[in-house]
């Protein structure tokens, strides 16, 4: 009995209902509020904002709730929301030396102006499941410790700027006229892509993908000898400079994580040996992302620095074409869509080939039931 593939519309509407029920779970349990997600799942919110390319913790939390905690799906929701928002203007470059720091560490110097600030981090926790949380109780508050007797200063020079006093590290002066970078959300990515465009792509790129790419550079797939010049977390002012005013005005603060990776460079005919830099930036507290991004950024500069391009992490087209979770997830999962026309064509082809093979060998091909 042949049943035509009718009823798609009713099936779709029913799947909405089932999805809503799955998302809600047991209705005997209180519903999770968007504000709870925003407050208590901060790192998830930060990742969704970073890869969703919108700094809006409330909408990111909403997306996480709607996506049942699937962060890639939440990123998709936020991206689709932002796609048709009007572009009002560009901000001035962020001045991260003027960040209000919550955390700042350098692996290259034991101590440095501004000091090391550990801040909130899982780095030195012992990864033991905390059964107090399971028992619905909060861990007793830690006695508050005044770690530093001085407050973190409002301006903290970046480590790479300290190295610069000796000219040991490359400088990246602002290009003449400070041209506006390309906006990847308005223009398609073209190759070869300049560094500003690459960084934009990496900033939106999937954290897992960038992490694996970065990891590969540490395991021999490209020659990198990286040091964390600095990782800093804090809030920084966002400024715009309306043309009619002629001076910058502060429109609010955002929390960001910035990483400057310092790499050896053997020098070339024109450039003496010096340290080079890889850069990573993410919204909120996203250290893994910022660090991976800085390693991949440095690897992608192989062409510019005259290094041989041998490894995937150094290949622009490989990295930048596959970093976006929306593109990757969409195309991988589109295989769920019906393909029976193509499959029918392949069926005919395989039958034809098997028939030819059978004629050639004169014996019948085992298992052939045609």
């Amino acid at each position: 009995m042949y049943v035509a593939v009718k009823g798609g519309e009713a099936a779709i509407l029913n799947s909405y209902r089932l999805l809503a029920a799955q998302r809600r779970g047991d209705t005997g349990e209180p519903e999770l509020s968007v504000e709870q997600i925003r407050q208590q799942l901060k790192l998830a919110v930060d990742r969704v904002m970073t890869e969703g390319s919108v700094y809006d913790p409330e909408l990111a939390a909403l997306a996480i709730k709607q996506a049942s905690g699937d962060l890639v799906e939440a990123i998709f929701l936020l991206r689709a929301y932002r796609a048709t928002l009007p572009r009002l203007g560009s901000t001035c470059p962020l001045d991260t030396a003027r960040m209000v720091l919550d955390r700042r560490i350098s692996a290259t110097f034991k101590d440095l102006p501004g000091g090391q600030v550990l801040g909130p981090t899982y780095d030195y926790t012992q990864r033991l499941l905390d059964f107090t949380l399971l028992a619905q109780g909060e861990v007793p508050a830690m006695p508050s410790i005044q770690a530093a007797d001085t407050a973190v200063p409002s301006t903290t020079p970046r480590v790479v700027d300290l190295l610069n006093q000796e000219g040991l590290i490359e400088t990246r002066p602002v290009p003449l006229g400070d041209p506006l970078p390309k906006d990847l959300t308005r223009e398609p990515l073209r190759f070869p892509a300049d560094r500003a465009t690459r960084l934009q792509n990496l900033a939106r790129g999937d954290e897992g993908f960038l992490l694996a790419m970065a990891y590969s550079t540490q395991r021999g797939y490209s020659h990198s000898h990286p040091f964390v010049g600095e990782v800093r977390l804090g809030t920084v002012a966002v400024e715009i400079e309306p043309e009619e005013l002629g001076f910058a005005i502060d429109i609010g603060d955002i929390e960001i994580t910035e990483c400057e990776m310092v790499n050896q460079f053997a020098g070339s005919k024109t450039i003496p040996p010096q340290f080079t830099r890889g850069y990573g930036l993410a919204f909120g507290h996203s250290e893994r992302k910022a660090m991976a991004m800085s390693l991949v950024d440095r690897a992608l500069r192989a062409d510019e620095l005259g290094e041989p391009i041998e490894s995937p992490a150094q290949m622009q087209e490989f990295v930048l074409s596959h970093s976006d979770s929306l593109e990757a997830s969409g195309f991988v999962q589109h295989l769920k869509l019906p393909h029976y026309v193509d499959f029918q064509s392949e069926l005919e082809l395989v039958r034809k080939m098997r028939a030819a093979a059978r004629t050639d060998t004169s014996d019948s091909v085992p298992g052939d039931d045609a």
Binding site: Q66, F331, H339
Partner: protein, 313 residues
């Protein structure tokens, strides 16, 4: 389209057409903002002016996933007007879930009338098929394209393929087809079979079966191809020569079936095999559901053909 609850969207009657209805006022007409539509229309104009050439465009993140028709949706959204009558098919059928979903998207954001009848549609968005009913002047066929670059599987670097297109250097593609012949005795490409457009650009026809390729040649309708994830638009204007690649001694040929459609008896349409029981009994049915239904209606009064063509495994 993000919210899973749509109490206002009850299943429409499964009739053949739906009249224009008020659009959801929360969105701009056809979802995209007018500046984006203008950008896409410019890309379409360029694509029409250079048949078969892939025009890069600022593809947006749509409320449907990349790979699920976002290129076709953006093209349709940019050219659809309130007077249009839209048809959406996937695998030739109006009733597959993805076609239903995309049609609902446009019903909701434009309120335009929809139809399943190829003849009545002014705008047809398709995935993987060209309708069997010949298209007419004034109709627009919008293809959803997963991989716009016909040579991507042979050379994944876009910087390289761009140069090859610029030089019209298509030896790579001919070598691939030749290797098929050397290995199998025939060209082993059955869908997404490369075509040469207007004697200049080699183009991916999108994964339509090669059975459909001849329909592209000198077609009176405008054919536009949208690849959202890969951010490319290309086009075949009306009455443009489209030649499927081949060799003099191994010319291009389309697949043929020994069977006829079990529902309408057609022998000239693309047939899908349908497995009808646990023993693998198969029957063949038109992939183009509108074509099949039209033929069945025309035959009303004749003996039904349903029992006829099932084959033993």
């Amino acid at each position: 389209m993000n919210a899973p609850h749509q109490p206002d969207l009850m299943p429409a009657a499964m009739g053949l057409t739906a009249e224009a209805a008020p659009a959801d006022g929360h969105f701009n007409f056809a979802y995209l903002d007018e500046r984006t539509k203008r950008m896409i229309r410019r890309a379409i104009l360029k694509a029409v002016a250079i048949p078969g050439y892939q025009v890069p465009f600022g593809s947006r993140e749509m409320p449907l996933p990349y790979g699920w028709g976002t290129g076709g949706i953006q093209v349709t959204a940019s050219i659809i007007g309130p007077q249009d009558r839209l048809k959406v098919i996937d695998q030739g059928s109006d009733d597959t879930v993805n076609a239903v979903n995309i049609r609902r998207f446009f019903e909701r954001t434009t309120g335009v009338a929809t139809t399943t009848r190829t003849r009545e549609a002014t705008l047809i968005q398709t995935r993987h098929r060209i309708p069997e009913t010949p298209l007419a002047e004034g109709q627009v066929l919008v293809y959803q394209v997963p991989v716009p670059e016909p040579m991507q599987r042979l050379e994944p670097r876009e910087t390289e393929t761009r140069t090859l297109h610029g030089l019209a250097e298509y030896g790579l593609m001919h070598v691939k087809l030749y290797e098929d012949i050397a290995r199998y005795g025939h060209i082993a490409t059955t869908y997404d079979y490369p075509v040469l457009v207007n004697g200049r650009y080699v183009m991916s026809p999108s994964p339509i079966p090669k059975f459909d390729n001849p329909k592209m040649h000198m077609n009176p309708a405008l054919q536009i191809f949208g690849a959202g994830r890969e951010k490319r638009i290309y086009a075949v204007p009306p009455y443009t020569p489209v030649e499927s690649l081949g060799f003099e001694d191994h010319p291009f040929e389309v697949q043929r079936w020994d069977a006829a459609c079990a529902l309408c008896g057609a022998t000239d349409s693309f047939l899908d095999e349908v497995i009808t029981d646990d023993q693998g009994t198969r029957m063949h049915v038109c992939s183009d559901s509108d074509y099949c239904q039209e033929r069945q209606s025309a035959k009303q009064g004749d003996a039904p053909l349903v029992a006829g063509a099932a084959e033993a495994p």
